[in-house]
Symmetry: C2
Subunit: 343 residues, 2 copies
Amino acid sequence: MNKNNYVVGIVGATGAVGQELVRLMHERNFPLRELRLFASARSAGKVVERNGQQLTIAEARPGAFAGVDLAFFAAGGPVTRALAADAVKDGCLVIDKSSALRMDPKVPLVIPEINPQELRRHAGLIANPNCSTAVMLMGLWPLHQKFGVKRIIVSTYQSVSGTGAEAVRELEDQVQAHAAGRPVTHKIYPYQIAFNCIPQVDSFDATGYTGEETKMAQESRKIMDLPDLKVSATCVRVPVVRAHSISVSAEFERSVNLAEARAAVAAFSGAELVDEPANKKYPTPLDFAEKVKCGVGRLRVDSAFENGLSFWVSGDNLWKGAALNAVQNAELMIREGWLQAKR
Amino acid sequence: MNKNNYVVGIVGATGAVGQELVRLMHERNFPLRELRLFASARSAGKVVERNGQQLTIAEARPGAFAGVDLAFFAAGGPVTRALAADAVKDGCLVIDKSSALRMDPKVPLVIPEINPQELRRHAGLIANPNCSTAVMLMGLWPLHQKFGVKRIIVSTYQSVSGTGAEAVRELEDQVQAHAAGRPVTHKIYPYQIAFNCIPQVDSFDATGYTGEETKMAQESRKIMDLPDLKVSATCVRVPVVRAHSISVSAEFERSVNLAEARAAVAAFSGAELVDEPANKKYPTPLDFAEKVKCGVGRLRVDSAFENGLSFWVSGDNLWKGAALNAVQNAELMIREGWLQAKR
């Protein structure tokens, strides 16, 4: 066993993102010395099989992170708020998937293809963006680098796996009920999601925006370091199991052209350009579920703005939108020598 | 039988819109003297039951419209181009659902709640808007009247019934195959539509826009008489059976406020305001299938623009987006005395 390998903890190991974290670390040969799974007291003591190993789930509680080099937190904001500071005190680097810390000025919010330098200034905590933000920026960032983005208007087409495993079951149950001619019921979402669109992701604030819409605006500004970026977002749940899609119209500082826009996207490591309208080639969520890169297509000059471009992006909300981005952040820190194993 | 009743023809009577036309005329007590169904030679001679009546389908061909006061054309652009002028020559008023005539400056393109006065200047031909355009304008028009619209950025969530009855069957077949664990196949759409989003509605032009996107821009300008309106549209097919939804971000001339915006929408005859975020009340396509009005909600001030408002609208693409708008145009002409029965 390599002495540079890491003791890694996963908090929320039984959830949708937690399971993807385990899978991705295995598939990407993450330098693991030991994997420790944490969950709520309810799941503690359970033995689960992951990648052929029997692992016992421990309770996520203060003191549990002593000896852990790196912990991925994927159990939601309340758990991060309750336990992340304690883990940091025990010398553990926390890479958090929740929204709890993202807008804290002391916490870097990082997509490694965009602002990797931010990883150096952490104080034990690193945040990962909201799923829709991460997927959108895989299309927007290369165009911004080329033309300088000023304003974006986005509408999302978000899959049910973003809500969690129980929402995936709800859609499946509704489809099975429909197919069998039984009444369709719902519990997770306020309305039936099968054969429907629900223009609400997260809860509403007093201005009429949802948390998801506000996150897309605030996090895009922080990650791209564009505090004055104008953002209009409408977030919508659609009956797709996995991978979010986003329709983006963007206004830029400099004059745009399609050939340069396509070349910029094609050259960007986070994106796969799928853009041949004449051959009906464009990304769809079905094609970009369980893909490392996000698919970008439907690029076109948008004459509603002076220097406008519109595009469509599809990407896996559980991967680039969550677990993959977190693992990529850790991989980059290891590669750059910014994360040392304690033993 | 009232001598002011009309001999009405329906061209494309076996299609999705044609069937809705028959149903709506019956439900709305359209003043019918006689209903004549027309379709292609393939369907001619078939006897169908409509509202308890046995009707024989006649072939839509030159000369078939002699004695018809009013014909709804719902069989697509090629049939309109082939037969509409001939019907007009025979003294028949043609109310067309296809896109063939919409942008002809001599042909009024009418939504009766918006530009009814245009119905007076027809020369035998009246066009109806594209389904997405009609549904969108049920939210935009009252806001425009209040604040003066300059620019709109829209993304659509379009149901498969907009493609036709065979696409409704394709989605249903895919869902049944999924539920039974059988392989999912596709023929009508270039990709599976169940559990997917397809960012293509209609075919692409050389600029990378689809016909549907171009229609939304051009038709909105014509119907609202705003030739300089800036429009950016992204049209997307989603796995919904019936009713289109549209996410709209709009910039206005005058300063906006939410209370006046909501009041304007609530007072508009084409819209039903469903906008209580605190109670999770907003329109969904499932709720607005087979509704006369379109549902408008998620109204909010949009700070990405100087005077910005965003909203969400859901409306029945076969009704306000097609058959209902056509029937409403005819009803208004009859009410105003602009259409006389020949006999």
